[in-house]
Symmetry: C2
Subunit: 417 residues, 2 copies
């Protein structure tokens, strides 16, 4: 079964919003062996939507998101009606859902709410319990078109419902994805090192993809309709483990794919080694903690953090000496070392990391420009510190780089690289 | 100038990676009046890439990302050569850059690194100082094609370089985007309320778009080549302010668009009201702090947080009574109220929010199922608490919902809604 995803919305084409819907839909469809061959993003423009709808006839399934809100910038529904040679009619169930939703928000219905109840007369409806725009399932020639709202938290349960009703029952064949994580070896070097292994993999019909993210590489193994695939993949992974040794840092099931692979690997290895961790975050502002706590099971290994944005908190809660701040400043080797020791003692963990830096856009000096970040790592009774210069990046990029490097450092320590 | 973005990579089509490149590129191009009319995502497959390249001939500019890594799943470069009737040749400057990069990482060059130095003979090169895949600028008929690596932090500076050299100089006309934030009023109601205002806006040739995100709506005003646009837009915004009153919560310049609009509005209003804030985060794990500290200027209003994942930290650092935890548990009205008072006293801020809940996937009980979240807000000397049930969502979604609701609550308090 081949599909296309069509996301409608000017906000996507001017870059105001990141298209998380496409990746979510792709992941769900893929799980049920529906291949996504094309993702298109077009504007709220009749002609462009029509062109994409026509292109959709090449596929078995087209999932459309967006362009269904109550306000004037939405024209998708009328374009769909034209394309399907259908008319828009008021649907009682939908109208009732909208009434209930509006009342639950202690508002009164207006004309725009009412228009939301208009649907294509021949469409099957997917009810929306979190918003006012209903979903529609339509058919033209041999292609099924599904129109869903663009708001992610409304779209997700509706897609799930469609998949349960229309896809799962027709699901044939078996696709298996499995990923492994490789750390501390560049992609080009890795590729040479595992060339033979990869050839053997290909002989078994298993496809390999490299997905690097800084110095962590996700290797994805994919099999489509291969007999005994689970076992075969598992055997190849075992072999890879022995080839890569320390650089092999973890595995991941497809239905458990994380957007935070580095944090996931760190949590997994801390669990395996039964170690605990805490953070003292200044310029990262909670970003390291937040990444670790997004991983299920984080509470096994993570006790807590202090986000010490003000100097007073560094002194009062973390025990940084007033004199250290006066003499060296908050962004200094001395300060981060005291912060790391302080948080480790406070939280009673095996490992602690502290970070203090200048994330910008203001606050830089010629001596300590924006992007200057000090970190200290305390493992058992040893403290080490490092200076990073992340240079001319945006505030968000500097925070992200610092977070990534802090977790990388922990991982290096853990696997003794 | 009309453009298309072409992102190549299976990882995007199976939803393993979110396509942040497209939104980044779209935003940059838009700033320079290059309209993005189409975004396409296709797999690492020669035929599909070729089809999209042919489609690109309808546009003035095609920005291509991905498919340039050193490993075997990359075939973009050969497809480009075929499409351009060109051949691949080794480029000395690129080869030298790669050598330097590889050496700086204390590695040795291998054959795959060397192949990265192959570029189309007629292409202009964009050097890559953060990775091994160079960028290429090519021309076919009247269309300029730019091929860039898919790794975001390599791609971004290379795109900037291309834009500086090839786009800025040819930039004609003027596009102005300006956004305002509206809070606490549903989209359909807002639309009725500002209908007249919107009509006046349209008469001036200014386009309006609604970008709702839960109960915060970004209204984007766009003008293209309109005389005195800045002033006209500013006047319309002033009028909108008086129509919406308290529900008008902020403004945003285009070059300052934030991915965290709610956090941005909260920081802006705290600054205006000269108030300070702190957080005691349990299940949100640093996510609220991290969102606030992504906003430039956060240090004016945010002093710090404690991420109290373990009960011990709740007691020791935040001063929660041992008996409270025993009698009511960590996810309780009593606990969050003590947490909020504790963090407010510790950080000496005007406002404090505390959050404790069950983010799952495990840890739920019939009495307190996954998704149960208690929050307390302490403003001056008053503490209030609220119970939320976020229900059957993933861990990440529960954390996100809790974070959003915590910040919404602060905003409501601040504007006295």
């Amino acid at each position: 079964m081949k599909s296309m995803i069509l996301n409608i919305g000017d906000e996507l084409l001017i870059g105001q919003v990141v298209n998380t819907n496409a990746s979510y839909i792709a992941k769900i469809l893929n799980t049920y062996h529906v291949t996504v061959e094309l993702i298109e993003v077009v504007s709220d423009n009749k002609e462009e939507i029509l062109q994409s709808l026509i292109k959709g006839l090449h596929y078995d399934l087209v999932i459309i998101t967006g362009g269904l809100g109550p306000t004037k910038d939405d024209i998708t529904k009328h374009t769909l009606a034209e394309f399907m040679n259908d008319t828009l009619v008021e649907n009682e169930i939908v109208l009732n859902d909208i009434k209930n939703l509006v009342e639950s928000r202690k508002r009164t219905m207006n004309e725009l709410n009412r228009q939301q109840a208009l649907v294509l007369s021949k469409a099957d409806i997917i009810r929306n319990f979190l918003g006012t725009a209903p979903g529609m399932i339509m058919k033209k020639d041999n292609t099924v078109y599904v129109s869903l709202p663009g708001v992610p938290y409304e779209m997700k349960p509706m897609l799930q419902e469609f998949v349960q009703k229309y896809v799962v029952t027709k699901w044939k064949g078996q696709i298996i994805h499995k990923s492994v994580f490789v750390f501390g070896i560049p992609e080009s070097e890795l590729s040479v090192k595992i060339e033979k292994w990869e050839n053997a993999l290909n002989k078994d019909g298993i496809k390999l993809a490299y997905l690097p993210n800084r110095n962590l590489i996700r290797l994805r193994l994919t099999s489509v309709n291969i007999e005994d695939a689970e076992n075969k993949i598992q055997n190849h992974i075992q072999e890879l483990k022995s080839i890569l040794n320390k650089n092999f840092v973890g595995e991941e099931d497809w239905n458990d794919t994380s957007d935070y692979p580095l944090a996931k690997v760190v949590v997994q290895i801390l669990q395996q080694q039964q170690l605990t961790i805490s953070f003292a975050e200044s310029c990262t502002g909670g970003s390291i903690s937040s990444m670790i706590t997004k991983i299920p099971g984080a509470s096994d290994v993570f006790y807590g953090s202090v986000v010490s944005y003000s100097n007073e908190i560094k002194i009062k809660v973390l025990g940084v000496k007033e004199n250290t701040l006066k003499q060296y400043g908050a962004v200094s080797k001395e300060c981060v070392e005291e912060m790391a020791i302080g948080i480790k003692n406070l939280m009673k963990t095996d490992i602690a990391i502290s970070v203090s830096g200048i994330a910008g856009p203001t606050g830089g000096t010629s001596e300590k420009p924006v992007g200057t970040v000090w970190m200290a790592l305390c493992f058992h009774d040893k403290v080490e510190s490092k200076l990073f210069q992340f240079g001319e990046q945006s505030r968000e990029q500097i925070i992200e780089s610092a977070t990534f490097n802090a977790l990388s450092w922990v991982l290096k320590k853990l696997i003794e690289l």
